[in-house]
């Protein structure tokens, strides 16, 4: 029987190695960074507990369905970057679960499940085993639609997020989508959406006009974006993601420009940027009236709100250079978050859905890199998260740790792809490749869409976690 101490020991082994590896190359790069910016040195894969997903049992359901479901869950947990994923030996793939054997493989968590047909779809039972304590921590059944159903993968992703929550008591990001624009060669634009695992990419708006700045509503049912008509004129449009219906939120009068819309959480309002005389300001719009919530010279734009809607960050060039500011929702107490320095511009902020961190891009050595600051500590140290290529327009996942962003090897590459970085471990993965002549830009990560999957009816059968002593955060 292992103890929590064993877990700590396992974790600390990694910690030591990671720290030693990280220290050397970073010291050299540090000197070239803008003042007040440090390259992220706190990346650590330490403390990642080992997790295995055992092949799901097909109880009357096709083996392919069971394999597909377990495969999606295994991949979701892998790209959650929270676990050291373990290989499952053949002799442990079936039969009764013998905790001693799994423990011998240093596995901390074991996910097992079974799949039975139910209506046109399936019912799956998923159990999270705490190998260290030798008990079933959680068991829950979930209803899934059939494999061909458009909600199938999203329903399975919701199961993955439930597993993450059982283990960490934190939100996952599997049951999410990313909206973005594709800038085609020749200057046309499309609005697209893709699942968090890079699957199921589809175009949701055509190239009749220029489309910018998609942003999700708090419940994930709507996306608001900017349209610039070729013949002139700017609009804020809103799309219902379930029905595909679109409506005009605000149509510019005359030559007015409407940019960078963003929903204000816990209100029916949308914030966006618009010219007010010689300066561009952030406005809030309640459907009838718009009023400015920033002031100052030059341009203020790109509002992004905290989850409670009480604070927001924005870009402003009021001092002559582009900086990120944080303010109360009414615009009061605006404070610059980014440090002042020569030839440094900061742009495209996004407020962490689970906290106070801001991600944005800033120029470093002449090209954009993804950076992170804390809105609660203005003037504090900024961390640079990327260092290779040109990286811009970051957006937080609802787990508050992953960020999607646009990356291109160089500005002249002619292609730009979407990547995801984990701010905790530094793991980077390709989400969608731009391909020749296409640039994927302005990505916006949705909140959890688990609640929007109609066919998913989850209910807890029995939860043993309340009796388990292993309630501490792991």
């Amino acid at each position: 029987m292992q103890t929590t101490m064993d877990k700590v020991m396992r974790a600390s082994r990694f910690l030591f190695v990671a720290a030693a590896l990280a220290a050397a190359p970073l010291a050299a790069q540090q000197q070239d960074l803008p003042p007040g910016v440090m390259l992220e040195t706190r990346y650590s894969k330490a403390g990642r507990q080992t997790l295995a997903v055992r092949p799901f049992e097909a109880l009357g359901a096709p083996e392919t369905a069971a394999a597909s479901i377990a495969g999606i869950i295994r991949n979701d947990l892998t790209i959650s970057d929270r676990f050291q994923m373990a290989f499952v030996p053949q002799q442990l793939a079936t039969g009764e679960i013998d905790y001693t054997q799994w423990n011998g493989l240093n596995i901390v968590w074991l996910v097992a499940g079974s799949v039975t047909p139910a209506g046109s779809g399936f019912q799956i039972s998923v159990t999270l085993h705490d190998v260290v304590y030798g008990n079933a921590r959680q068991t829950q059944t979930f209803s899934l639609p059939d494999l061909a159903h458009s909600d199938f993968r999203m329903a399975v992703h919701a199961v993955s997020d439930q597993i993450v929550r059982w283990i960490s008591n934190q939100p996952g990001m599997a049951a999410t989508r990313i909206a973005f624009v594709r800038q085609n060669e020749g200057g046309t634009y499309d609005l697209l959406v893709v699942d968090s695992d890079g699957e199921n990419m589809r175009r949701i708006s055509g190239s009749a006009s220029l489309v910018y700045s998609p942003s999700w509503s708090q419940d994930g049912t709507k996306v608001v974006y900017t349209v610039h008509l070729e013949e002139g004129g700017w609009r804020l449009m809103e799309r219902d993601m379930a029905t595909g219906a679109t409506r005009t939120v605000r149509e510019a009068t005359g030559e007015e420009q409407l940019l960078t819309p963003s929903y204000i959480p816990n209100t029916p309002k949308i914030a966006y940027a618009q010219w007010a005389g010689a300066a561009m300001q952030v406005f809030e719009f309640d459907g009838a009236q718009a009023r400015p919530i920033t002031d100052g010279r030059a341009m203020s734009m790109s509002p992004t709100f905290s989850a409670d809607g009480q604070r927001f960050a924005f870009l402003s060039s009021r001092t002559g250079r582009q900086h990120i500011y944080a303010a109360n929702a009414d615009g009061r107490n605006a404070i610059v978050v980014t440090p002042f320095g020569e030839s440094v511009e900061y742009s495209a902020p996004d407020w962490q859905p689970t906290g106070t961190r801001l991600v944005f891009h800033g120029a470093s050595r002449g090209t954009f890199q993804i950076m992170m600051a804390d809105a609660a500590r203005p003037g504090g140290q900024i961390q640079q998260l990327t260092s290779t290529g040109r990286n811009e327009d970051p957006s937080w996942a609802p787990d508050g740790r992953h960020i999607v962003y646009t990356s291109q090897p160089t500005l002249s590459a002619g292609t730009a792809s979407l990547y995801v970085i984990d701010t905790v471990t530094g793991e980077i993965r390709l989400l969608v490749s731009g391909g020749a002549g296409a640039k994927l830009r302005l990505a916006a990560w949705s909140p959890s869409l688990a609640g929007t999957v109609n066919t998913l009816q989850a209910h807890t059968e029995n939860g043993t976690s309340n009796k388990s002593p292993s309630k501490e955060m792991r």
Binding site: Q257, M299, M301, S302, S347, A348, L411, L442
Partner: protein, 191 residues
């Protein structure tokens, strides 16, 4: 006798030319000599007069073309800057003179940015450049309502390259004549 006839013809020709100038909006002067079959006895003087009229029309056409070129000439900007560069002021000053001579002319000013800045910021920056141009021109006493402004951000580069010289050409404001573009008069003309 011959001299008097010639004088009359020349005068008539000039009057015709003057008339046609005033009538131009409806009836651009084709400057065609009359068909010889109808007037077989037409003399050399009337041919000369017609040719002079044609030359005058060609001159006016060239002046109108030059005026259009001047009105449509682009201006360029420094990086991440929407202020009018000193070396670009002449381009705008020439437009001002033409806009005074042609009060019916209205312009659409579209600002552009190079690809180095942020995509969304560039949309605003292009518009700031267009506004800056409009304000400069309107500052000479021209009505601001004669100008509309827009921005294409970094989406319509003049030069698709990724060099500093390409970026210099892409940081610009473009001009399109949206009304009053026919029969443009040269600056300081007879109005």
């Amino acid at each position: 006798m011959m001299l008097r006839r010639a004088m009359i013809l020349i005068t008539a020709g000039l009057m015709l030319a003057a008339c046609s100038r005033r009538q131009e909006p409806e009836q651009p002067q084709p400057a065609e000599p009359p068909p010889p079959t109808q007037q077989p006895t037409v003399n050399q003087d009337s041919i000369d007069a017609a040719r002079r009229a044609a030359e005058e029309a060609a001159r006016r056409e060239a002046a109108a073309r030059a005026a259009r070129t001047t009105l449509e000439e682009m201006v360029f900007f420094d990086y991440d800057d929407s202020s009018i560069r000193q070396d670009q002021q002449d381009v705008l000053n020439r437009k001002v003179a033409l806009l005074r001579a042609n009060p019916a002319v209205t312009l659409r000013i579209t600002g552009h940015a190079d690809e180095r800045g942020s995509l969304e910021y560039n949309l605003a920056l292009g518009r700031a450049r267009a506004n800056s141009v409009r304000d400069y021109i309107a500052g000479f006493g021209l009505q601001a309502t004669r100008f509309t402004t827009d921005s294409m951000g970094e989406d319509r580069p003049l030069d698709p390259g990724h060099t500093e010289s390409a970026y210099e050409r892409n940081r610009r404001a473009e001009f399109a004549i949206t009304a009053g573009g026919d029969n443009l008069m040269p600056p300081g003309g007879d109005r």
